[in-house]
Amino acid sequence: MDLSTLITPGTLFFFMLAAVTLVSALGVALAPNILYSAFSLLGTLGGVAGLYLLLGADFVGIVQVLVYVGGILVLILFAVLLTNKLGELKLNNLSTGLMVGAPAAVALLALIVKGVTTTAWPLTEEATAPTTARLGDSFLREHLLPFELVSLVLLMALVGAMVIARRAAKEEGRSVPEESHDRLVG
């Protein structure tokens, strides 16, 4: 078969997105600088969002962009910036045990690849229609319970994050001299 007929736009898109995703993911794993890692993550998340669109999951793709890129990634960047003296970033993204971890990860990858490729998946007709409406429907019908449960999770996560992250007024007052002491010693 002619190669040109095989290379459809879909194929091209897939390979481009896959490349972006994987390269960025490797960046997350191996970049020497935590900021590089964080921005690489942006690439991965975006690439995956694109793949969702390719798979006809438009709503999921948009949620990925909104929540992941707009929310989680920003949180991560905040955390990076809040916890680092940027001048010393080089110290802050060390890897340990790469020579043990990498073989283990590769071994697992090999197993999964072997498993996945040797399985006859029960394929069906591919559905590509826009799914947003159907998803909304499902959230209010068969998936109502998880939908409500997630609201509880988010509420408690909010409460919990507050409990953990807030500093009591007095504590704040105390921590300042402590820090300045550190400054003197350091």
């Binding site: 020497p32 600088n33 680092n84 003296k85 940027l86 001048g87 010393e88 970033l89 080089k90 110290l91 060390l94 890897s95 340990t96 045990g97 790469l98 020579m99 043990v100 971890g101 283990a104 990860a105 071994a107 697992l108 197993l111 820090e179 550190d182 400054r183 010693v185 350091g186």
Partner: protein, 841 residues
Amino acid sequence: MENLTAVVQTTHHFPWLFLIPLFPLLGSAINGLLGKKLQDRFGKQAPHTIAIGAMVAAATVAIISFANLLRLDASERTLLDVVFPMIHVGAFRVDMAFALDPLSGMMALIITLIGTGIHVYSTGYMADEPSYWRFFCYLNLFVFSMLLLVLGDSMIIMFFGWEGVGLCSYLLIGFWYKEKKNATAGMKAFVVNRVGDWGFVTGAFLLFWGLGGGWSQMPGQSGQYVRDLPKTDEQVRALDDQVSGAHVDVKTVAEVEAPEAEKGEHGMLEAKAPHGHAGRRYAVPIGPTVSFRELRDQLAITHDGKRPLVDGGTLPITVTTERPGVAKASQQKMAQFEGLANKTVWGIPLVFLICLCFFIGATGKSAQLPLYIWLPDAMAGPTPVSALIHAATMVTAGVYMIARLNFLFVLSPGAMTIVACVGALTALFAATIGLFQYDIKKVLAYSTVSQLGFMFIGVGVGAYWAGVFHLLTHALFKACLFLGSGSVIHGMHHLTHHREHHAHGHGHGHDSHRDPRLVADPLDPQDMRNMGGLATLMPWTRKTYLIACWAIAGFPWAAGFFSKDEILWKAFSNGSTLVPGWLIWLVGLIAATFTAFYMFRSYYMTFYGRTPSAEHVEHVHESPKSITYVLWALAGLCLIVGPVLGFPALIGKLWHGEPVLETWLEPVTQFTKLTLVGERAWKELPAVEVAFMLLSIGVATLGWYVAKSLYFDLAASEARLLAWKSKYRGIHSLVFDKYRVDEVYAATVVQWFREFADLFAWIDTHVIDGAVNMMGTISKGVAWFNSAIDKYLVDGAVNFVADSVIFSGGRLRRLQTGRINQYLLGVTAGIVVIVLVAYLV
């Protein structure tokens, strides 16, 4: 062989048995909760009055129960008291139930009576102890556990007591816990006993399983057992459904037309009636059980008077029920009934495994090779404790258990052989260690181990009554010996106390690095080399000690002779063990010779040997009456019990036939006669038995003579002794150091155990870590490269936000291993390994 189909026994309800263990429990509870207050308020009488009161009450009930037992016909001598049902889940039924049969009745009497004596003795011995109440609390609790063990009607109740005595001995041995040595000894006893417990539990599990037991209310995939007989049509239908189901395996459902039957409890099998009740039919529960009685009866029935289960044929069971459907189905299933002995696990007969497991349990509790090591160390406890634990009760629990399970052990000649051989080896081994000890309590401890070995020979060769008889006589003479040694130590204590005071006054403490092999520590009240010539100072103690020595050495006018000789004779003449009987007999005979020697050695070293010094005369006195009375009581029993209960059949036949005790225990052990191979005919010749008896007396005399010639007058023989010692220094010190078994244990088992634990800790911290570190060196180079890039490229860009405070390099000095990465690495690697295992299997 007489007609022995009548193994099935009736039981008589006797609702007061529970009082026997209850009284000590109450005493213990009162002393434990209120003892301190009572003692502060009313003085030391209060705790011991309560404790002794509880013991006397328990003993009284025990005697009354025993009297009730005596009144009954021999085949009906079982009193049963089901206090309340404890666990009733499917086939697994445990009641809080006590049974008093000839064996447990005898044990209960020993425990309560000797226990009472020891309580009385303790009032004198522990008089100076501040936490007097605590001691009596533990003592009562111990007696309670022991009674639970003995009277328990099922393995579970027995195990309660089994664990309870372990716990109490731990508490009692470590009574003076402020000395680290004692606490450690208590700990050792506890932990070693746990190894034995492992055997007990495993044995019980295997037995229940072997009988086809499942563990919950319903018939699962693994065998089932219907207890109640169906009554309504609906129930029958349900049962029929279930019987025809694929996984169902009904063992027995039968109905017996017998008014006496325990109706509604079990599937029943028919059995012929015992003697004297011809025509009556008894129902025998068949199926998995943990009750000793039910187990014994069904083993007896299923074997139908033949050597059992070897051929493994089907069972001739008649099922009578009005419901034909049930009868048919269950008869079908019963035809498939597999006997216990047909099962194998990994190719080994199950019965053998079960017996082996139980025997491991027994070696732990009864201090046999190789688990005896805790007992000599346990001498750290107060002497009454040694007497109670070592003489009367706890250590004999293993012997009792095997005697109780006689119907099981006789099914496996292999297990019997192991029991007998381990017993014989222990008897010899411990006796040789006893030869050279100087600590009087250590001598007695090793002698206990050795005597327990004799008992195991007895139960191992199938002479259950002889083993139990030796248990009884040993309880008497060893209690007497221990209490006698306690009396001596009590006296010596005043002397050493004085010396200690003296030494401190002159400012030189004793040398703790003294080699105990050569020189006695003058401050040790238990070292026999500090004694000598006490005969005149402690005359009563001496006399009772001598009587007990006669008993243990085996002179024909005291208790030990009758039991030990019977054991050795049975060992010689038995045909059940896989090794020839004469071999076991020979080992036992040598051990008996040594026994006579070391016991009289201790006697002469303590009471004779040299004339007492002025220091001795001044400080060592006869013990108070509470001690000597108990000694006399025990010594008296040592002289009486032997001839009365165990006069050899040979001579005894002249006036009353079989030995009293053998006849008495007959109902318990009669099942063994079904299976034991009889003695060969020529051994029945009276002349042979008499010859063996004379031989026993001969070796006892030999041991006594050598001991006397060496130790009666130490001044004369000391040079000779020293010469021998230096000539055979190697052997002597090896034996003196107890063959360095403790060291071997420390170097092997304990060490392996520790290293194994270390290994895990080490893997946890080092293996992964080490790999990481190795790679760290490599990655250092990479890091340097990275940092160079950062320094010149990144720094310039981001320095404008740099706040140079937060991250100070000083903080990094506190580097520790990055554990969380290791954890996650562990997850990854673990997943890979599990996937591979699961996939490749």
